[in-house]
């Protein structure tokens, strides 16, 4: 109803380079789409959490988790498909910039899911934004991939024989008590069940592979914890990330 304050440019902020059409078709696709892109998710957020939140805007048809190309584990984004355009619009209006799993998530219209779009587009398999990130984000695998590689290289130099990265004990618990009022949200996710993972094309074969992938996932995760004090986004007090510019989706073509 309101038209006075709507930002008409909001739709075209980001242009997916892989969209097979011109700008006009792209805008048209966004304006009629019932598919949403959801970004800045924690790697631990499950489809069921997404379902619980997004079903409050309407009946959900499908959820497609974004997965790391290499590890086949969630890498921090997903697509949500609704049955009706109106519900999709409401989800963008009412859920974007609010908190899911302690993170402020982004919700945008998407031109439509196609097979292949579930994979991260970063060099290391995850999202592009996680390649270059320099902060420590425990919800998204710790440091960015570039920083991780650097840290690993350094660690090789000062390795006192422990050899395996998995032997590094995380230091998070030492920061536990500091945030009295917050009741230590930071360290919590480690006790959590790993998200049920899914493999779109080989459901029935996923069970035996599960353990291997889980352990990959786990060792990758634990190796992320370095002795530097963590900077935990879960302690951010403002949940407003309308201006979250570091998402790889935001790169223009």
């Amino acid at each position: 109803m309101a038209s006075l304050f709507k930002d008409p440019s909001k739709l075209s902020m980001y242009r997916d380079r892989r969209f097979p059409g011109n700008q006009e078709e792209y805008v048209q696709a966004l304006e009629t789409s019932t598919t949403l892109y959801v970004g800045n998710l924690s790697f631990y957020t499950t489809e069921e959490q997404v379902y619980e939140l997004f079903s409050r805007a309407g009946e959900i048809k499908k959820i497609i988790m974004g997965l790391d190309k290499n590890t086949k584990t969630p890498c921090g984004f997903c697509f949500v498909l609704y049955y009706s355009r109106e519900d999709a619009e409401d989800a963008v209006k009412y859920i974007s910039g609010t908190i899911l799993d302690d993170r402020s998530i982004r919700v945008d219209f998407d031109w439509g899911f196609e097979e292949g779009r579930q994979w991260g587009r970063g060099r290391s398999g995850g999202q592009v934004r996680d390649e270059y990130r320099t902060d420590y984000d425990p919800g998204r695998g710790g440091y960015g991939k570039m920083v991780q590689r650097e840290l690993e290289a350094q660690r090789q130099l000062v390795d006192y024989g422990a050899g395996s990265l998995g032997a590094f004990q995380p230091h998070m618990s030492s920061h536990y008590g500091r945030h009295g009022g917050d009741r230590g949200h930071g360290g919590l996710h480690r006790h959590r069940d790993y998200p049920r993972k899914r493999y779109r094309d080989d459901d029935e074969r996923s069970a035996p592979e599960m353990s291997r992938r889980t352990s990959d996932y786990e060792s990758r995760r634990t190796s992320d914890h370095d002795s530097r004090p963590e900077k935990n986004p879960r302690f951010r007090d403002s949940g407003d990330s309308d201006d979250d510019e570091d998402d790889d989706r935001k790169r223009r073509c």
Partner: protein, 863 residues
């Protein structure tokens, strides 16, 4: 210098464009001077934006009124255009029944009158038109009292203009104004009080409610107080007074007279059910804007004038209406209203009144969740405490809260907390653990925790209640699947285990659904029987699909047919749902999702879900868990969505058919015109058009005809689908009401010999009476209990819940009868004849009838 656009938009706001001041006179002067400078250049742009602003920023109407007044001094044409356009928009809205526009345009006209753009007499004339239409409508003979909602709405419109223009009118046209007031008074005396018990948020208010004033009577009271105060009002700015000296020089215009649509012809008076239906339709067209909840004690809000409360509510509701989707603007507008007093409590009450508005709020409840989150951020020092106060107050009365409202409150609260790190002083509520498991407060806490776990994860929520470890008992189970064949030595015996292994092997080997079906039909059912087969198939498939929502969908897409073949009828489908519920017994969300998806793939029907919900094990949970209700809600909602989608498609096809008809007509006409063009050659008439063109035109017209035909065909196909869906809907509601009727008949206490209805709440009312005798000590005790560590003296301090289990079950189930009836009233009214003959027969329990009728807003026949 800011552009005229920004200045128009921002006028009245504390903002940079106006140097941070809020002096309205200065704002108007600044804005006017810029507008006037740009006037010749962008007259049309100014005209358009000004009208838009007046409609969409209605709390600034007085400012926009003065701007038009000032322009009127220099350019009468412009002001006339504003008046004429507004007036004709008002006329259109009256006929298109766009109630928000009617209300706001009338207010804008009043604002223009204050700034001497419109003659006061003209406004009076408009009021009188509305007044006489209202009076006719409620007249038994001349009108159609079913449409009282519209009549009431017109009167509300008149009254709600008075805070803006009452002072002006009484000064300039006192006699005419008195006439209007007398007219309203006499309307008030002939209308009926609106007693839609079905829409009350608190059930126990019922008896009180009947004596209470309704919205219009309350507004009328407030207006009369305002009138007695000499029309002085704090919440409406009066910038026109600062410009009076200039404005009086302006030429005031007459409004062209408006007219109201006639009330529809009353439907057949012989069948009273139809009148109920008509009333329902009128209510849908003119829904009540707010049902004010008095959440806080009056000392928090009532130190303002009664009329100020109404005006601030108007402001807030309009901001919510027009700023939907603009988060930042919405929050800043809500906190920056042009009133000289604080209104956080009023704001919270207004928003909660919308969240809990029955039958439904204007927007999805999640919108208000967002608004509350944003207000908590915008006013971090004040608003969170007010919200917490509202939660506490509602929690105290949760047992009286309508069932639908309870669900909304649970969804809102869990979502709200998820945005604020799940921090809540749970220790205040630790005592609910000691209440019986059907106590509404206990169920509320349990369901909030359930939703929190869904939004987050179990360990985290457990940690969030560490200050109230007693509440851990109310946490849902950890949510893992309950797979019968996880180990060889399960209770289910080796058979099932082996079969399940074999089955999942086949799935892994990518056997087709057909292969698996024949394996089941040939090898399993004959040997092990149906029950074992069903168990093995469902347990195994669910286990394969247990890892996520997508896994589930994949399995159902691939092997749904296997299940469908196995369970072709309602009975078997109900068993199937039982099996789903058993596999996911620790996880309500997955149970609900699985059932929902199975209905999507048409593996199970809505009727079998209803049947399952009314099976004994579920019925026994009605008063202690939301689980069966969530599943029932989903099933009905999905059915409703399907039929709504069909209706929408048909609507758009209807339009397309009309367009196609038009196109055909045009093409044929063009062809015929071309064909009939003759010229005389050698004394003989011959066609003058080239044969090529004729052929082409003929082709076009034939194609247009074909298009039209195919369009009609698809419309017919959809209409057939709709007709089927309507029949299915009828079956669904019949089965729903029969289900309710049967379980209630078994459990409701009988009507006593003298015909008195059993009172389910008696026990509780007594305890309430005790409480209310010493409310202040209760409060103190409560606080002490909290600070002195509730464990030590918890028993003594906290109130018990005295409603018995059976009574609570009845209250809860009746509450849902009302809630479902209300939510789907339009669908249900469509089948009222069938329901009347098959469900609401003479011998039906009066309490059941009462609950259903309340939801439908249907008058209960005398008992």
């Amino acid at each position: 210098m800011s552009s005229w656009r920004t200045l128009l938009l921002r006028i009245g706001d504390r903002c940079l464009e106006y140097g941070g001041t809020t002096d309205f006179k200065e704002h108007i002067e600044t804005c006017y001077s810029v507008i006037w400078r740009e006037f010749e250049h962008s007259k049309d742009g100014i005209f358009e934006l000004l009208l838009q602003c007046a409609e969409q920023l209605p709390h600034k109407i007085p400012l926009y009124g003065v701007l038009v007044g000032l322009i009127n001094l220099e350019n009468e044409d412009f002001a006339k255009r504003v008046v004429d356009t507004t007036c004709s928009s008002l006329q259109d809205s009256l006929y298109s029944e766009n109630y928000d526009r009617i209300r706001l345009l009338l207010r804008f006209l009043t604002g223009l009158m204050c700034s001497k753009v419109i003659l006061p007499g003209s406004i009076i004339e408009a009021f009188e038109t509305l007044l006489s239409s209202a009076a006719t409508t409620v007249d038994e003979d001349a009108g159609n009292p079913s449409w009282q909602p519209r009549a009431d709405f017109y009167i509300t419109c008149i009254l709600s203009c008075l805070p803006w223009g009452g002072a002006e009118l009484i000064e300039q046209v006192p006699d005419e104004f008195d006439r209007v007031m007398i007219g309203v008074q006499s309307y008030m005396s002939i209308r009926r009080r609106t007693q839609d018990i079905g829409f009350t948020v608190f059930d126990s208010d019922e008896d009180k409610f009947l004596e209470e004033k309704d919205f219009l009577e309350d507004l009328w009271d407030r207006i009369q107080v305002l009138s007695n105060n000499g029309w002085k009002i704090d919440s409406v700015p009066t910038p026109h007074l600062s410009f009076e000296a200039q404005l009086v020089a302006g030429k005031s215009l007459c409004l062209s007279s408006i007219s109201c649509p006639e009330p529809p012809e009353p439907s057949d008076r012989h069948y009273t059910a139809l009148r109920g239906k008509e009333k329902h339709q009128a209510r849908l067209k003119y829904p009540q804007r707010i049902r004010r909840l008095n959440i806080f004690s009056s000392d928090k809000t009532e130190n303002i004038q009664p009329i100020d409360r109404f005006v601030v509510e108007e402001y807030l509701l309009d901001v919510l209406l027009f700023f939907n989707g603009c988060r930042k603007e919405c929050a800043s507008c809500m906190v920056g209203l042009p009133v000289p007093f604080r209104y956080e409590y009023l704001m919270a009450e207004t928003i909660f009144s919308q969240v809990l508005l029955l039958p439904q709020p204007p927007f999805k409840p999640i919108y208000y969740t967002l608004v509350i989150i944003d207000l908590c951020k915008a006013l971090p020092g004040a608003f969170p405490a007010v919200v917490a106060g509202a939660v506490r107050a509602l929690f105290e009365r949760i047992g009286d809260l309508d069932m639908e409202c309870r669900t909304r409150l649970i969804l809102w609260f869990s979502h709200h907390l998820s945005n604020f790190q799940y921090i809540w002083p749970w220790e205040e509520w630790a005592h609910v653990k000691d209440l019986p498991k059907w106590a509404p407060q206990r169920v509320f806490v349990q369901e909030v925790l359930e939703r929190e776990v869904r939004l987050s994860y179990w360990d985290k929520i457990k940690q969030s209640i560490e200050n109230a470890p007693a509440l851990e008992e109310l946490l849902p189970p950890r949510g893992e699947p309950n797979f019968k064949y996880s180990t060889e030595d399960s209770l289910e015996g080796l058979d099932g285990y082996t079969l399940s292994k074999e089955f999942s092997g086949m799935v892994r080997a990518r056997k087709t659904a057909r292969e698996i079906t024949s394996w089941i039909e040939e090898n399993i059912i004959p040997v092990h029987g149906f029950d074992v087969s069903l168990e093995v198939v469902i347990q195994t498939l669910l286990d394969i699909g247990s890892k996520s929502f997508t896994h589930l969908i994949t399995v159902l897409e691939r092997y749904g047919q296997v299940i469908a073949k196995l369970c072709p009828d309602h009975d078997k489908q109900a068993l199937l749902i039982d099996e789903v519920s058993s596999y996911w017994k620790n996880n309500t969300q997955m149970t609900a999702i699985t059932i929902d998806r199975m209905m999507s793939y048409r593996i199970i029907s809505n009727l079998s879900i209803v049947r399952w919900v009314f099976s004994l094990s579920n019925v026994n949970q009605f008063h202690i868990s939301d689980r069966p209700w969530e599943i029932l809600r989903n099933a009905i909602n999905k059915t409703y969505n399907r039929i709504t989608d069909l209706r929408k498609e048909i609507q758009s096809l209807d339009r397309s058919v009309l367009l196609a008809e038009e196109a055909t007509r045009k093409a044929i006409k063009e062809y015929e015109a071309a064909e009939s063009k003759l010229e005389v050659v050698d004394g003989q008439p011959v066609q003058s058009e080239k044969p090529g063109r004729l052929k082409r035109l003929k082709g076009y017209s034939e194609k247009a005809k074909d298009d039209e035909t195919s369009m009609r065909e698809s419309l017919e196909a959809k209409e057939a689908l709709l007709a089927r869906a309507v029949e299915e809907n009828k079956a669904l509601f019949l089965s729903l009401y029969k289900g309710f009727r049967d379980v209630l008949m078994e459990r409701l206490p009988p009507v006593s010999a003298d015909g008195k209805l059993p009172k389910l709440r008696i026990a509780n009312v007594d305890s309430m009476a005790v409480d209310s005798e010493e409310p202040s000590t209760m409060e103190v005790d409560h606080d002490n209990g909290r600070t002195d560590n509730s464990q030590s003296n918890g028993e003594k301090v906290f109130p018990r819940y005295s409603t018995g289990e059976q009574e609570q079950w009845c209250l809860c189930t009746l509450g849902y009868v009302k809630a479902f009836s209300r939510q789907y009233a339009s669908e249900i009214w469509a089948h009222i004849e069938a329901l009347d003959s098959q469900v609401f027969a003479e011998d039906v329990h009066p309490l059941f009838r009462k609950a259903a009728y309340a939801g439908l807003c249907r008058s209960t026949p005398e008992l």
